[in-house]
Each structure stands twice: as C-alpha cells, then as structure tokens.
C-alpha cells in the first residue's frame, strides 16, 4: 500500500514539474525571465501571512469541488456538474442567511445544512436519471449547471435583490458569514474563513469513507465494475444515486464557503469555473482526497499569486492567465497521460 501512495505522489510531483516547465517555456517565449516570474508568483501566494490566508481561502471552494469530482470519479461517475451544485448550494445557504434572523451559532449550521441539501438535491436528479433511465451523467450534470445558472438568474432578483443592484443578491449580514474576526485578524485581514476547516474535515471524512468503510467499498466496486458489483449483491442503482448525492453535497458545501465565506453575496449571470478547475484538481490529486487538497492549495497559490507576478513583471494579465492555465492543465493532463498509459498496459494484461 505504502509503495502505491508514494508512486501516486511521485506522478503528481512530476506532473507539477512538467506543468511548471510548460509555464516557464511560455514565460520565456513571451520574453520574460521564468525564474523571476515564478519567484513573484510564489511570493504573491505566500509572501506574508495575509497572502497565505488568501491562498487558503482561494483553495477552499476548490478543495470541495475537487473532492466532489474525485469522489464521483472513484465511484465511476463523471461529475461535470460541480459548478451548478456549488451555485445551488450557495443559493440555499444565502437564502437561509438572508431569511432567518437567529443567533450565529444556529444560523451557520443551518446554512451549511441548506447548502449540503441543496447541492445534494442538485446532483440527485442526474443520479436518478442515470439509475432509472441510463441517462449519461455528463449530459445531465451539464444540463443541471445551466438550470442552476438560470435559477439563480431569476430567483436572486426576485427574492433576494439588493436595494440598488439587480445583478447580485443583498449582502449577507456579517454574523451570517463564515468569516470570523479572530481568523481574519490572525491572517492580517485576509479572506480566510471557517470554510477551510469544513474543507479539511470533508477531506478526512471522504478519505475515511472511501478507504475504510463498507459504504466506500461498495461505491468503489460499482465504479470499477458495475457488473461485478451487481453479481456480488450490491444495489448498484441505489449506489449511483447515493454517490451523486454525496458528490453534490460536497460541491454544495463548497458553494457555501464561496458565496457566504469568500464572498458575501451571490451574483447572477456567473457560472463559477471552480467546478471545472475541480476536475483538474481531482486529476492532479490522483483522485486521492489528500492529494486533491494538496493540488487545490497548489492551484490556490497560483490563482492568488498571479496578480502579484503580473504586477511585478511585464507579463500581461492575459499571458499570466494563459501561463497559469497551462501549468494547471499541463499538470492535470500529465497525470492523465500517465493514467492512460497505465490503463493501456492494464488492458493488455487483462486480455490474458
């Protein structure tokens, strides 16, 4: 077991290296010094306690979407709908925050519950469609993304409209935010919030579910070999639905950390890209919950360090974006290539 984890880590690190090299080449070709560029990039993400806090805050929702994608993947499902689940979970949390005037100690758990249920519900539908009618989840989750987009689009102005702005909800009151004064102060005014702790807890819980529990055993079995799981008496259809719901709940909770933690209102007309970045985080993390967390924090450094790199060098923001995207997707796809090769050789062996 030990060797395997190390191997995954090794693959991950190599992929990261490849990503960095790809980014460096791009920097060099646009006439910039890669070493300088990277030093500003990393300083931008980690230079002081506030920036570390911001990096972690940026990584938080990504940990959730990455975990959501990885969990679904492990159980044989491709969840492209993390964005929509996030959005709807975030809407539910925002709705609770704007509706109930109860003490913070009650309100926050209630909001998180709402986000979990909302995200879970949003994934329940594709789960049921797959289990009952064999509708491929890639199609239905993408559909649900847009349904979430338009649901937010119409419901926010209708029910939670700010006094002046049509394009976003009212801001949630301070006591309903996942931000905490002590935490903000500790990190020198950064956006870090309780979401990070929820993310770490989720990572641990998902890792335990996947590796140590009866449920995880069953879900993974269905993911690897549906017929084998059926043969062994597992209820594969129920498990598909359950997997989707858990994945959706994770993304939904991630939505809460984004909309009522990192941000303090929900904007209409924006489908968060975090759901898709989550796919990259899941891949780079080798579908391992801890790996996903590491990959997300790594991406977090880039997302929050990028601006400083751009500010300190002559790299234009568009190229900066491209460099970051290159690093991220190169790293993620390098893992993929490695995996593809592994699958090919496995296939070959399987023919015996």
């Amino acid at each position: 077991m030990k060797i395997k984890i190390n191997k995954q880590l090794y693959i991950g690190l190599i992929s990261v290296l490849l990503g960095l090299i790809a980014g460096a080449i791009l920097m060099a070709f646009t006439g910039n010094n890669p070493f300088l560029g990277y030093s500003y990039l990393f300083r931008g993400g980690l230079m002081n306690i506030e920036r570390i806090g911001n990096t972690l805050a940026t990584a938080t929702p990504l940990i959730f979407t990455g975990l959501s994608v990885a969990f679904a993947f492990k159980t044989g499902l491709f969840n492209i709908g993390a964005s929509g689940q996030m959005l709807f979970g975030g809407l539910c949390a925002t709705a609770v925050a704007l509706t109930f005037n109860i003490p913070r100690e009650l309100l926050l758990p209630l909001m998180m519950m709402a986000a979990i249920l909302g995200g879970g519900f949003w994934a329940l539908i594709p789960g049921l469609l797959k289990a009952k009618f064999n509708v491929h989840e890639v199609v239905s989750t993408i559909m649900m993304n847009w349904i979430a987009y338009w649901t937010i689009y119409y419901s926010v102005p209708a029910f939670f409209k700010g006094e002046f702005l049509e394009t976003e909800s009212r801001s949630i009151p301070e006591f309903a935010s996942l931000k905490a004064e002590w935490l903000t102060n500790l990190f020198n005014g950064s956006f870090i919030n309780y979401g990070l702790f929820l993310a770490i807890a989720s990572v641990v819980i998902i890792a335990i579910i996947l590796n140590k529990t009866v449920l995880g055993f069953e879900l993974k079995a269905a993911g690897y070999n549906r017929f084998g799981a059926e043969y062994a008496g597992m209820r594969v259809d129920t498990n598909i639905v359950l997997s989707m719901v858990i994945a959706g709940a994770l993304a939904g909770l991630g939505g809460a950390t984004y909309y009522v933690g990192y941000a303090s209102n929900i904007q209409i007309g924006v489908l968060p890209t975090l759901g898709f970045d989550g796919i990259a985080a899941a891949l780079l993390g080798g579908l391992n919950p801890y790996g996903v967390m590491a990959a997300s924090i790594f991406f977090g450094i880039f997302h929050s360090g990028k601006g400083f790199m751009n500010a300190m060098t002559s790299i234009p923001p568009e190229i900066g974006d491209t460099i970051i995207a290159t690093i991220i997707y190169f790293a993620a796809t390098s893992v993929l290539i490695e995996r593809a090769m592994a699958i090919v050789s496995k296939k070959v062996k399987g023919e015996n």
């Binding site: 090299i21 002046f164 049509e166 303090s264 209102n265 007309g269 929050s304 601006g307 500010a311 923001p317």
Partner: protein, 359 residues
C-alpha cells in the same frame, strides 16, 4: 520519462539565458505608478475597461508615469481587493477602477491603503448594505450623465434616418444602461417634435437581454428586430451588443440597410465591413478615457479632488457622440452640435428617470 524531463529542464535553462537579457521589473521609482483593476470582461472590451485603459495610456504618453492593469480571477469583492493588494504591494499608489461593481471594494480599500489614491468610475464607495456612503479623502467618485449621451445619439440617429423604426438592446437592467435607454427615447422624441422626423419606438423593441456576455443572444435579438422592420438598434450591452453588431454586419453585407448605435466608446471601427463601410451610425459616448486622464493629470498637478463626487456630463464634455462619423451628414452633425450646446447651457434638460418612458 526521466529523459524527457532532463531535456525539458535543459530547454528551460537555455530559454532562460536566451531571454533573460533585460531586467523586466518595473523599477523606475520616482514616476507615479498608475494601476488599474479590470472589471469582468477583457481589457479590449470596447467599453469600460478599454476606455479607462486608453485614458491611462494617453496619460502615459503625456506625463511621466508607469502603468499596469490587472485582471481579477473572479468578480467578487475579494477578487478585486486581492488585485488592489497586488498592485499596492508592487508599489502602485494611484489606482483607477471602472464600474459600479467596485463600489464596496473601494469602500474598504480606501481605508486599508490610506496612502493610495483611488478613482472609482461610475460608482460611489459604500458599504455592503448601503447604510454608509463615504468617499474618503484619497478617493474620487465619478459619474456620467448617460441620459444626455443617449439623448444626443437619439437625436443624431433620428435626424439621419428621418423615418422608420428604432429599437434598444440593453445588457442588464441597471441604472447606467437604463439612463442610456431613457435618454435615447427622449432624444428621438425631441427630434420628432422639433425636426419633423418620423421615428417610431415600439415597446416590444426595447429589450434588456439580462447579461453583458451572451453574444449569441444579442445576435438573435437583433435579427428579430431587423426582421420586424427596425432599421436602427441602440445596443448598450457589452458582449450582447457585439452579437448585435455581427448581425448588422452580415445583413449590411447582403445589401440591407441596417444600423447600430454604439455605446460608451466610439465603436465605429467595430462596425467595419467590406473594408471601409461601418454599420455604426453613431455612438453614445461616455468620456471614460477623459475622466481617467484628467484625474491622473490632477494628481500630478497636486490638485487631486479627493473626497469629491464628480459628474461628467455635457457641461464638462464628459459625454458626447463622436465628432466625426462618415455615416452622419454634416448637416446632422451640426444640428446635433446645436443640441449639445443647448444641453450645456441648460435650455434642454434631459430627465434621468423613467417617468412615462418605455421600460
């Protein structure tokens, strides 16, 4: 695998030495460092971002400043604040931010970075629930009289076309867009009354698409309006407007006579087709560039109007239509010039409210 990595590393080193010739750090220390954080959309959005940035670049030509813009990862307050922090940490002490979305961001930033100057275009700093408005001593808030700009564009289009139907496509239904619309309607009405034009504006052709980004929807909406007989569409809609422009271009190419009225900046060049003709009849401009330029100039001259809220309107040449557009007859241009002077002098007052207007 290992071999590949070694090769790549080698390339990286070579590339490094090949390109590391000059120090790229922006280190000139005495000149004013002027930074900008963009709103959603790109720097060449033919609108706010571009207008602001052009003003800054214009200032760079005339004055001793260094410039930089940053593009936030998302559009939340946290994303904006992070970029402001990045600019600040990189030594920028003068920042221009375009768009009302920066209102709460600047509200926080002006206190967090008291030694930095902020110019907020199209908004005034306030807290999240609008209970506190405060334009601090290091901040200038700038607004535009969009209704006056729309009015001028309305008059110009009506004079040029004389007879027929017009329409309006807006992005989101927010005050600056609405004011453009209301001003445009008043301008058309003014022309009908005073210049004997016969322009019709039907309620069904006044539409807010709902986003600033859905190019395809813009194209569709424009196609529907043109099919219904509309010949001029005023598109105040960002990316949606781009769709409308595309539709107009393809129709114009096949010989149809259709027009778009541009917004924010002079969009003439965007409407070019077949090399030299453009479907942009005129544009309802906000002189964002001027405002950015003026503020930088003021700062360097030691007269930064910190704490003030400035209105850019006809009276200070903050709104206008382009001085020249080959699609407008010179007689039209001179009439519009007269109208412009009347607004300036106050003999025409354009309402900034909906009143009895459509939508």
């Amino acid at each position: 695998m290992k071999r590949v990595i070694v090769i790549l590393l080698a390339i990286m080193f070579v590339a490094n030495f090949a390109f590391a010739g000059g120090e790229q750090e922006a280190t000139s220390s005495d000149s004013l460092k002027v930074g900008m954080v963009t709103d959603a959309g790109t720097i060449d959005d033919k609108s706010f971002n571009q207008g602001t940035w052009e003003g800054i670049l214009e200032a760079e030509k005339d004055m001793d400043i260094t410039t930089k813009y940053l593009k936030p990862v998302g559009t939340t307050e946290a994303d904006y604040l992070k970029e402001i922090g990045n600019l600040y940490d990189a030594g920028y002490r003068f920042m221009v931010t375009p768009g009302f979305k920066f209102e709460t961001t600047i509200f926080q930033a002006q206190d967090k970075y008291p030694d930095c100057k902020f110019v907020l275009i199209d908004g005034a700093p306030h807290n999240a629930d609008y209970s506190v408005f405060n334009t601090a001593a290091n901040t200038v808030a700038i607004f535009f009289a969009e209704h006056e700009s729309g009015f001028l564009a309305g008059v110009a289009s009506a004079l040029q076309i004389k007879e027929g139907e017009m329409g309006f496509i807006g992005g989101m239904e927010i005050p600056p867009v609405q004011k453009f619309n209301w001003g445009f309607q008043q301008g058309v009405a003014y022309a009908n009354e005073n210049f004997d034009t016969k322009i019709v504006l039907n309620a069904e052709n006044i539409i807010y698409q709902g986003t600033f980004s859905d190019v395809a929807a813009g194209q569709q909406l424009a196609a529907q309006m043109y099919d219904k007989g509309v010949s001029v569409i005023f598109a105040a809609a960002g990316g949606v407007g781009v769709g409308a422009i595309n539709e107009a271009k393809s129709r114009a190419k096949s010989g149809e006579e259709v027009w778009i009225v541009g917004v924010d900046v002079d969009q003439y060049a965007d409407g070019l087709f077949d090399g030299k003709k453009s479907i942009i009849l005129t544009s309802a401009m906000k002189r964002i560039d001027t405002s950015a330029y003026d503020m930088i100039k003021a700062e360097l001259g030691g007269s930064f109007p910190g704490g003030e809220t400035l209105i850019f309107d006809a009276s200070n040449n903050g709104v206008s239509i382009p001085a020249k557009n080959p699609n407008l007859d010179s007689s039209v241009e001179s009439s519009v010039g007269d109208v412009f002077d009347m607004i300036k002098s106050g003999s025409i007052v354009v309402a900034a409210e909906q009143g009895s207007l459509i939508k």
